[in-house]
Amino acid sequence: MMRSMLAAMLVLFATPILAQGAVPPAPYAYNQLEDPALEAEATSLMYTLRCLKCQSQSIADSDAPMAGDMRHQVRARMLAGESPEEIRTWLIQRYGDYVSYQPEVSATTWPLFAIPALLLAIVLAILLRRLGRRRNDEESTAAL
């Protein structure tokens, strides 16, 4: 009883949060596009865009009103004929790389791509040298 009273009171005091949802969600926030192929493209794009309110979620995962508005933008723009990459570029122009979860080679991220390649090259070089040396050893023993 106490607990439900407390819960009711907390909800009463949370009116600002309720008010945020008082305005109905954007038309395409929770509604899919009619064309299933287009919707599939939109969905896969939404999974790679960051929700700016809840920064560890994608806009496809988040229930934040702003994520809903971003989903609306994605679907409405797809419907208007924009490609997923155009929409991603549009968002990156406004929020920077941070808004996109899709890794891209840029001035700051190139080491992430270069280092594994470099390590692989080093490993390969060491391996070849060792194997080469062993073969030489075997050959020299055989010669004896």
Partner: protein, 176 residues
């Protein structure tokens, strides 16, 4: 006797573990800064968010007068904290144009009657469309816009007393 080279991987591990541990103690910057600084505002027209103030369109920002564009909402608590400082800005001669995000006319009117109305115009952005165009990621945020509609500065979060002179200085510079 172990050759010193064999300690290199261990050294790498200790370095990265130490780096990760250090970064955990650092405060994370939660702000997403707009990349639209220096760009012009997009074409837009917003209906009035309440009865006693007109709506907002791009034309209002092309009259040669620098303005503040305040992105806010009646459901936003820090917006209450910032209200008195917006009032100070207005009294110091700043024109403040409001954009109310996801808001109802009745809620806007209620907020303004309680916390004051420093706005010359208030547009309603029901789909956060203008907010996304601005590269804004929350409420409240305030943009300094010059007389041609170019975005000069973004202030993220509520305006506090110490930010008032900075914003006034920016408006003054934009005027000259």
């Amino acid at each position: 006797m172990i050759r010193p080279v064999y300690f290199i991987p261990l050294a790498f591990f200790v370095f990265f573990a130490g780096l990760a541990g250090f970064m955990l103690t650092q405060e994370k910057d939660q702000f997403v800064e707009s990349h639209m600084i220096g760009q012009t505002l997009p074409d837009f027209a917003l209906r009035p968010a309440t009865d006693n103030r007109p709506g907002v369109s791009i034309e209002d920002f092309r009259d040669g007068q620098p303005k503040l564009l305040n992105v806010w909402a009646s459901w936003c608590l820090p917006c209450i904290a910032e209200a008195p400082h917006l009032e100070t800005l207005k009294q110091s001669g700043a024109e403040i144009v409001g954009v109310a995000i996801r808001d109802r006319p009745a809620d806007v009117a209620n907020f303004l009657s309680r916390h004051g109305n420093p706005y010359s115009r208030i547009g309603a952005d029901d789909l956060s469309a203008l907010q996304l165009e601005l590269g804004s990621s929350g409420v409240p945020e305030t943009f300094v816009i010059d007389g041609d509609g170019t975005i000069l500065h973004q202030h993220i979060g509520d305006i506090r007393a110490e930010h008032v002179p900075i914003l006034l200085e920016m408006l003054k510079e934009a005027r000259s």
